[in-house]
Symmetry: D4
Subunit: 221 residues, 8 copies
């Protein structure tokens, strides 16, 4: 599989059949790779699949990627680099709801991911439970989605309230927004895992990508 | 809402509109209620919705429930009491896969829950990753489901392997099977939250009910 | 202070001036005392203050106490033994709100404590956030209290919603109701400490007594 | 609610009715917002309520805020930006007591918050329990307050001693002052939650704002 | 060293030179040994050293020990079995101070241990910091000891107050008295490790024996 | 693979090729299986491999196993049921060293496992580091083994001392012997993972079986 | 106590009687104070007691202190600023032993502190248990001290070995030297708290000052 | 042992007999030593043993080392400085397998260490379980090694799959690659300790050196 000209062969064994098995090519976790590594892996995947996505990445990597794939986009809020040449037909719709302005970067990860999977995305910002009327006023709209991603930090109560109001699966994303005992998102994670409302499943802290991907799989069935 | 003859009015404010909002009546968490409390709440919900479900319950509660609802069933493995008079038309299918014999009680929770939601369930037992051929031989069958519940204790690696092989959402359930650092299921929970495979979301430790419910919502869309 | 006939002198140095300094006599933590120790301490405090309270106690201790103070009461739900000969004039009012039937024992601790402090208590059961209309329908009543005790286990979201709706201090009590990652109440505790709603302070897990006491101090000012 | 000229509409759904419901406008958590976001939200709240408060903020945000609200103040110790045009009549009084010089920034958060709520504040610095005479000499003064905020890091023992001496509610604030096992304030938090003195409730680590707010609610009743 | 008639040779390699090196024979940790094992080890040590001590033991073990060493004593509060035939000359004195009645069993462990080392012991019970005058009234007496053992559960604040009042080393013992976040003694342990008063060192939770031993070494120099 | 007469087919998918791949048949984790399940799985494996092993099991299971495999042995200390009809030629030798009498049950797990793999086992009991001469006197013997299993609870320091004295791999086993902060074996586990001596690898707490298996693999090469 | 010219009165309530009660003036915790605050407090204490000590401090603070107290010394390894004009007569001796070169800064804290208390100090570096002969060769010397401070990071086994060899109290200091699970010193702390050797008490992680102070109290009796 | 010209005598007590006892000279932990300390210790060990190794080191230290040992090599990925003049005869072979590109630095630590011990090393990169065919295709090659080091971050499932496929000991190395609950490698560590596959032992998080050393000991027997 790795020919002699393969510039990634010394550090990667790219899973080029991933798309065939799972419907989406291998996604590149950018955080602990060098910019050069990320860019070369992206090139190889893009060549095979007409689509690539790097998560948790940075400016420096974008510079490297642009040298090879000039049409690549970089979302600075979501810290994602991506590009697609596929023709997409929209199938399914999700809502991405966040509890506060500070949760937007993680929500944006989910939105970009689902969009790349060909799913329509409705974004609803800053409707945390302290002003409960804010989420109540959005319920009718949310109920029309196939799946709802709910992003919240601090006490993380929003997914519980949403799941008690709708008949659709809720994918909850704890964020690391908070301080003191809320630092790093464990409080929000525990809240979501222990919700008294059924119909919620949870992804890792700050894992907006994972939630968007799971919602994309659900909505596009 | 609570009339004078309501025998639950001193300890419960039952959410009788839950089914209308979310498609399924309020489910009774049996573990910390007295048998009498569980039975009286079940009676009231059953009267309204023709269906009830008590989770994490016990023999003593079953005795109380049978006095009021003689047709109630008790699954001793799943520790669930339930009954339905609804006519069900099957819509959608899920697979419930477990890693080892010891995980069966939690898997069974998921299976009963999804069945009560009108979803077809395929059960696959004891296919943990130590003998990787076991899960590989089931992939074709699993891929035909709308959603896959994967139940595992100890190191909890099975959901990651499954999610790398299919294009369907995986709901992962960590179980408290294990000892030493694996006691209480935190090891399996962390494994599932940190999976390098996308397409996984996770429920609480031993929360077979939550996984079955989430899978039921996804499959029955 | 300890005379020769003092039957408690070998194991206790009772703080008989506590009531003078803080307005309420020393309260007896029953859990780790022998029944005999609890009863003898209660006798001595009761003689001085015309009021005593034993928390986290049991049947066996009640038997011992009754031998000395026949008029003592035992609340089996709250696990409290107490008695008062004081004339009480009601000053102030609190609401004690719980999220679910399983939280009642801890709520009851708070109610008994505040009542012994001469405060009027309104009890509201089973209004957790999954059925958000339940708490919304009680807001008008709750707003009339001087302080609101909110008791919740599992994900512990109720105090946040309440604090966003009223202009009164909320004392939040996490309970150990839950399982898996919710076991022992840490999830609810963290939720309450990290609430995005201001106006909440928190007591120890299952500390219904502490919350009732704090609310009593606030309401009776 | 969000008109076309609303510069916050892309990232915030401000809860403008908060003051009506809870008596104080929405407070802006500055730590994870951009300076621009904090400033625009402050502007909108200030227009509606004649008062705003940004917590856990910084110099850069102050520069942005001053462009829009030149009269805004910045307390560099408390890291708070705020401004009020309301006429205030003092109602109620609190004491804010800290255990050591290093706890002053968090104590200052509480003092500013309560002052903005129209409450008189007495500040007492550096009276930790190692020199027990220091707090004993202040008791007479403290007892005259309606509520006492006690701020302490390291072993966090001060609230327990204070609560044993007065008949007023104590709001305890653990700080992240300490090192080794005291790092991040968990030691102080646990001490305060487990106090053997009744009459204490606790807020999040370093949450001076929350304590000041709760004390303000109590004192201004 | 182990001859053929040594009944302990299959499970123990007793360190019979321990007394020569450290001044006290090997002490037997009873909790995880069978009664028979504890008794046979005690017999062998007693033969060599004229003194033995079994910690964290039980009635059943006492029955076994009495068969071999009829003069052995059992302290049911401290859960210790011991016996000495040594002539003891008292050298040095310690105070063992506890915060509450529930801490007495652990304090008693320390007292018995130090007594067996030939040290005079003063016991002071139930002088926790909520009634601060109780410990203040004992300071003169405490200051005359060579070392002070302070035993406390819950918030564990007492050692800090004591160490601020005397010029003698304080050995702090956290106990597992408490509930919720105080369960198992971690709160008290952290309090003691993070004390703002110098002159404190700490032993394991419930380790009354260790504290008594350390105090004995200090006092008998 | 599962025929109609297979009594295990409803709960197990036994990995009968395990021995071919890894050299040892599937081992049965007994703790969370019913006695009947354990016995039926044992029967099937024994038929295929002439050897079976059940770990963390109990008397009741032994009774079930004996009905089917009368020649099965039960080691009550190690809590293991096993039987072999294989002819074994000894290849390789290991030492199993424990720190104290209380660690013997876990050490015994390792000894039985390695013996079943055809490895010679030397057992050395009760040589913890408090009496350092005990282990020093065994070094010559230990150095002759191919691999050394070191079992210790409490502070778990023994593997570090051993690894500094020999040129053979040390497999360290933390045990749950201890109390307070040592409860459940996390202290010993961390000690072993952080050893300043190279040449140590670690297994799960109380995982005597895993250590014996790993040592068996190493010694029998 | 605070006159009008007191430059510390806005941030400190210095405990000037500390020396009278405990034998040593208040020590200044430098880490969370501004350089100016540390310097002004030092000045005031030095004036009263002819001795001051600032711990966990830095270059910038030293510059401030030198402006006021030109004779002050700064130990860059121990991060301590101090000065004494007292005439000291040596009374007592301690050994400060460390396990590795990386532990020297914390050991140095202990050495400086004890020296300021008038105690003779013997320093022994880099004698960790991996090369067990290193500590064995020092035993004779160590046994002559009144108290032994043992400083170790990583697995923290050294205090256990030392305490098994001597009849003097050992004060154990865990350091934050290590990585992975050893990061921040919790592994070493737990090892020391759970030592199977009696005669050890423990201070906070990296608390060289506390250990030196405790040892100084013991040795100078 | 330390003569007057020994430049390390103030901070180190080098264990020069280590090689004789354990077969490999003392290895220098670079992270918490000054560059000068590391270089001087390296010089002394190199002189005695013709081989030295510094782990977790940096550029600055390399500059210091080169001044004394110009032939020293620095691997920037593994952060190791080393040199050997020994003649090596290869004995034994290991495979070092990693799950992803981000794990290469830790894998490289293991490879360099084993190579310095005279063992042949096969490196296999990026074969994590999400694309299970990648590891399956390498099994034949891996089975020929004497020991297999498996390096993985995030969910850490790879060692379990490998151990189920081979009859050789697996040394598992968790890495700190991951985010949220996977941060710092605890998730991977727990996965590896709780593996349902026997034949795995584990080293500290990011401890590539320890794994390489253990594998080297096993392979070179």
């Amino acid at each position: 599989m790795n020919d002699n000209n393969d510039k990634t062969k010394d550090f990667a064994e790219i899973d080029l059949d991933r798309e065939m098995r799972t419907g989406f090519p291998e996604v590149i976790f950018g955080e602990t790779k060098t910019p050069k590594q990320s860019a070369l892996i992206a090139e190889k995947i893009y060549k095979k699949s007409d689509l690539f996505l790097i998560t948790r990445t940075n400016d420096e990597t974008y510079t490297e990627v642009q040298k090879i794939i000039p049409e690549a986009e970089y979302d600075e809020v979501a810290k994602m680099i991506f590009c697609t040449k596929k023709e997409q037909k929209i199938s399914g719709k999700i809502s991405v709801v966040n509890a506060g302005t500070s949760d937007i970067p993680i929500a944006r990860e989910a939105e970009i991911t689902a969009t790349l999977m060909g799913v329509e995305v409705e974004s609803i910002n800053d409707v945390g439970v302290t002003g409960i009327h804010r989420i109540l006023s959005k319920v009718e709209s949310i109920r029309k989605s196939d799946c709802i991603v709910v992003v919240a930090g601090m006490e993380g109560a929003l997914p519980t309230v949403v799941a008690g109001l709708v008949d659709k699966p809720v994918i909850a994303v704890p964020t690391s927004v908070g301080f003191g005992t809320g630092e790093k998102g464990y409080s929000a994670l525990l809240t979501m895992l222990n919700s008294c409302a059924p119909g919620i499943s949870v992804v890792n802290i700050d894992a907006g990508f994972s939630a968007g991907y799971q919602a994309g799989l659900i909505a596009s069935q």
